[in-house]
Symmetry: D2
Subunit: 281 residues, 4 copies
């Protein structure tokens, strides 16, 4: 990535100009991609193709129509997404909050764009599992702490913590039900791991699975305690379906995490394409 | 924005941890927002609201359905968006490229996420126009050069150049046709300004209008020479409908520009929420 | 319309085979058609065009994506569409009825397809108005009764009554806001006319306007008493945006009315294309 | 269905007023319904629910957003749907016909609403198969002729012929892939049966399966000769995913067939809810 090497007094820009590596943590969006059936499927079409309308000067254009649920592909859950006993984070009445057809309180438009310290916890590397964690495996506090220890990356207040389970290897499986893992179960933290993250006052968390947290085989989304602990009780955002294999392979465990959600006013989530950025050697 | 002050050897992260100001350049997306009628309207609804389905443990969730054109709100044009005499950038046959219903060549999924030097050219400030440029005004090469001079911000290879016309003040007008400016015309560069940018080998350009370039009163999108010069001839991306008033007011003319388009495979554009990031004083 | 002239003992089929004239009462659906902005716009695109995918045997196909509100174009309002003081028709709690994201009670899927006597009340003909009723004109009970008298068409229990205002002439106006008539007002019955219809125990009513009932200039949909009287109080369906000019011109005032709503489970309405069918002379 | 018993000189209306039985041949549309994955999934949501907006007079409303492919649920294929060697019916160039993003020639908006003689060919009854034809079974000309013979229902020019395979019993299977039958195959006519229908100059045909014609196990839509024979070569419309079990059970083999497609301008198909109407005993 070429940038002009102009002198600047801005340390951030200076660092950028010295050279950075941008790791893309987002999954491509295309028809048939694996997603939860609870959400409208991603669809794309071209209402206009080149040649449909040609101007006098020979110019033409093509455009798109897309429709999708917001919790499809790599996406962020806003605090409006989950409620417990009728309440959102901060004791906000969930039913009232939705009157009018959108969540002005706690909607995804209230999530400030993030440029902050990010940490990847590569759990399979810790557990020495070349093929990633097993389906339905619960990533424990011990696993998280061992990973922090092994990597030498502390996790602290305001950080964004991305937990790699290795399940992302199934994203491109021709059978989308594999990545969804409803029958097999999916690895991830559960309540204890979520509490550990919350205790560290992190800003947001993420994982390389659709549901972020562990799904027991056959259980589906029947019980999602980590969502409750993080979104409702702690006000911590969750990013799902990340691609964490690139950063893991490059052993990039600490980085500048960049995430800029679409400000869909009143929505419960947004598709995102987060980045892990590091200075080049 | 609190980040943990841990010592790091990564200059980028170190700069982030010293403190950064993040300027949001994106417009909120909501029903009825001003947009070109050539594109599907933005629509949002909540298929599920809290209380629609309550789990045994008292948990509930809400989710969204969105549909929109990709050239709606703040968005980036991919090289697949515009053709001239049947060809996309690089001589790619536009009709052939679209066979199959998506542009694998030059689609928005081919735009690498950007973390690079950005420059704001605040033209109304140069022209001493508190209310911004007039409708239909052509921002000339002289205007651009005077702005570079006045601001002391060079424009060079690989940079992203954002041109403020001041027209963004109309974005929230209750009558969406005002910002669209079909009848009134809209200020912006035209062919000459586009050529000036292309000659500097910039990576991408943007503006605070829907069409980026000047629209003559009543002319609509009949002729878009800047799109041809930039997208087709030069392979330079265009970002439209930016919010440039915040950075202008803060006199932030040089910054780290961050843009991460949704990798919609084969699409001609993507909604985006770019950021202008600067180190804090 | 050619049909085989086979002898049948079924009187309905025999009548069909003798020859029928089918009057189409539906408006075509296309992008940009006039509709209420309260509802998602009609959009159509071709995800697949011929040639996108060609089978080994030389066959190819094209298909569509459509999205729209259900109260767009010629459509029927189900009883789930309108509530008064929190109640639907029959005292059904409106909020409760919608839990789950669809109205299983009173949704459009509960409207039985109609094949019944239909009556057109051509009010402009009665009032000798070649250009139709004026914007914002209230069609009175006296107008309705005079029309019944003039046409010799009684209105009775179980019938479907279509009221022509003449406003349909604006449907194809290049400016869609004309047919919408928010500023000008739109002609139609109001509370008294609705009560007159309800007293006759009709099955359904319809008109050649978007809102069926009279809209005062500038009032928009602030008050819709006819909807309350018909949908909520009487359980009478309303069909809107009909094309009644053909039947009026042909002086077809009494006919077999056919309407088959799409059984969209839990929806509040459905696009429809009703027919007025008469035996050929 | 009560209608007013007024004397009328219109034989059709007189027959209606004597009493008719309306058999609904359409399938309900709801999220998760079985459909071909080649088409955008049916989705429905309520942008507005009762209570979201309450008028001063205590009135409120709810409305819908729907999106879907047009070949979803019970639907009709227009002649624009299928091409052979680049040509639509009548030698129309398929690629040219789609320029502009819609098929003005042969689009579904060109299908006139139908009120004509309909014939149900209940093949499983002929073959004495209480559970319907087997997966992948080809309904032969012999089967069709034996059914005509057994039922005493001729098939002639201008008629609409509905072929029941019995596969419709799978429509409500909790596993939507069963009705789709990609792996198992699906019963139906093939080229010979299509030719037989075409030779009789029928107006339209239909079946109780998604693809109308026989699908061999595992073959999917690789080869669809009946579509070619009917749509391309003969200009005969195809209606798919009909519910034919009610009429079969009632032994209604000859009836007035009513079908009114939504006039979606330029679309390749439309969801429909056809009716089989007979005079009451």
């Amino acid at each position: 990535m070429t940038t002009t090497t102009r002198t600047t007094t801005d340390p951030l820009l200076a660092a950028v100009q010295q050279g950075v590596e941008v790791h893309d943590l987002g999954r491509p969006l295309s028809i048939g991609m694996p997603q939860s059936p609870n959400h409208p499927a991603y669809w794309h079409s071209l209402p206009r193709r080149h040649g449909d309308m040609v101007r006098g000067d020979g110019g033409s254009a093509a455009n798109d129509f897309i429709s999708m649920g917001t919790h499809v592909g790599t996406h962020i859950d806003a605090l409006a997404h989950v409620s417990q006993d009728g309440l959102l984070h901060g004791g906000v009445d969930a039913a009232q909050a939705g009157v009018g057809g959108r969540y002005l309180e706690h909607g995804v438009h209230t999530i400030a764009p993030m440029v902050r310290r990010g940490v990847l916890l590569d759990v399979p590397a810790t557990l020495d599992l070349a093929d990633g964690c097993e389906a339905g495996y619960e990533i424990t506090v011990a696993d998280l702490e061992a990973t922090v220890e092994r990597q030498g990356t502390d996790v602290g207040a305001g950080d964004v913590v991305l937990i790699r389970s290795g399940w992302g290897r199934h994203f491109h499986d021709p059978d989308p039900s594999v990545y969804r893992g409803a029958a097999s179960g999916v690895p991830g933290v559960s309540e204890a791991g979520a509490a550990w993250l919350a205790a560290r006052d992190v800003h947001a968390v993420g994982a390389d699975t659709i549901a972020f947290e562990r799904l027991a085989p056959g259980a589906g989304h029947a019980s999602l305690p980590a969502h409750r602990v993080l979104l409702v009780e702690s006000g911590i955002y969750i990013v799902e379906a990340l691609d964490l294999d690139g950063v893991a392979q490059a052993a990039v465990h600490e980085f500048t995490f960049v995430l800029s959600p679409l400000p869909l006013v009143g929505a419960t989530g947004s598709p995102v394409r987060p980045l892990a950025v590091v200075s080049r050697g």
